[in-house]
Amino acid sequence: MLFSIQSFGQITYLKFNFAPMIPTGNTANFIGVPSARSGNIEYYMMLDSKFGFGGEIGFTSFFEKKSGETLTSGTLSVTGTQFRFHNLVPVMPAVIYFFNEPGSFRPYVSLGAGIMINTQRIEMGIFQERLNSFQIGIKPELGSIFQLSEFVAIKLSGKYYNTLGGSRLPAQSALGINLGFVVTQR
């Protein structure tokens, strides 16, 4: 056997997060409006009392209406009201580290790395331009779990998503605040 997972009481955390996001960098250049249409689900399995692994899958929908925008390309100009959409779907395995032993207040840091599925869409008049891109991204997180009972907790954290740019879409980034409902199982 190459490795083994010690069953440390096998504590698991299942988190349902409301996750308002603030676009930054290239993402903000496309849509500058923060979004509350965002949520994610995380699952972590503890290897010992402080260290665990798991992952996150989420969804964020940015939207901005831009009136009277003129797009120019060479000799071509098009003016109209743009409806811009940008959906982010992070699918990221992650590791988590708690700074203290199990208790009512458990600050932690986590780091995720995986895939960010980007869908950008511009609707203008009866026309639509759509761009899909899978990008590799990372997600550092700093936060804390507040244990309310043996099986129920809430969490508050800040995350920063950052991806590597590609030929189809430049690097994307966003800052997220997570307010979550946590189900703890032992």
């Binding site: 969804f59 929908s61 939207f63 009136s67 120019t72 000799t75 071509l76 109209g80 009201t81 959409f85």
Partner: protein, 213 residues
């Protein structure tokens, strides 16, 4: 009990996600689109005069069934709103309107589509009733640019072509130096349609600052 709890959570997530879909267009005028393109090699400061028909034709097919006969015209109020607005913008840019028999430097041909698909290469003979020299062997050409970014347009489109019959090529192609496609949803109100057309024609000239003497 536990599976029931998770089902409720998943259900709430789906409901929450659907409830948060961003709103789309809430009025038809936000769907109005103004497209312009031009020949970069042409000096728009050279021509001094232009002519324009007294009616805006209605293109409801790709070819004319009876060449030389008068084609159908668009609604009178809409037609006049289009022609007046083109005229006022051209005057403001320093061009003088003349009769089509007075050797104009440019001919502006406005039309409205009434079909689901109308191509730029519509039949010359739509204009056979207007300009005395139009020939059935002539064809449109867009020198220096291609308006192919939009290959077809939907109902409710105003197409304005600025042509130059004096530069007819040896292949019987007449240059279209400037084109504007104004696309939108047709509303039930003629007045509302006319107001939107006026606004969008102004925008076509605003985004074409090279159109000046």
């Amino acid at each position: 009990m536990k599976s029931c709890f998770y089902l409720i959570i998943y259900f709430l997530i789906i409901v929450f996600t659907n409830a948060c879909v961003p709103d789309g267009p809430d009025a038809i005028d936000v769907l109005d689109l103004v497209y312009t393109n031009f020949d970069p090699s042409y000096d728009f400061g050279t021509p001094a005069t232009y002519s324009m028909p007294e009616n805006v034709i209605l293109i409801d097919r790709e070819t004319v069934e009876n060449p030389g006969t008068t084609p159908p015209f668009a609604d009178f109020i809409i037609s006049q709103a289009i022609l007046d607005r083109i005229r006022s913008n051209m005057t403001a840019r320093g061009y003088i309107q003349v009769n089509e028999f007075n050797d104009p430097d440019l001919i502006i041909l406005p039309s409205i589509t009434d079909g689901n698909r109308v191509f730029y290469e519509y039949d010359w003979w739509f204009w056979g009733w207007y300009y005395p020299d139009f020939s059935p062997v002539w064809d449109w050409v867009y020198p220096g640019y291609l308006p192919a970014a939009i290959t077809s347009v939907e109902t409710g489109t105003v197409l304005i072509q600025m042509t130059n019959p004096k530069e007819l090529t040896s292949e019987n192609q007449i240059p279209v130096h400037w084109i504007s496609v104004i696309n939108g949803i047709v509303s039930g109100s003629t007045g509302d349609n006319a107001n939107r057309i006026v606004r969008t024609i102004d925008q076509a000239f605003v985004q074409s600052p090279y159109l000046t003497r």
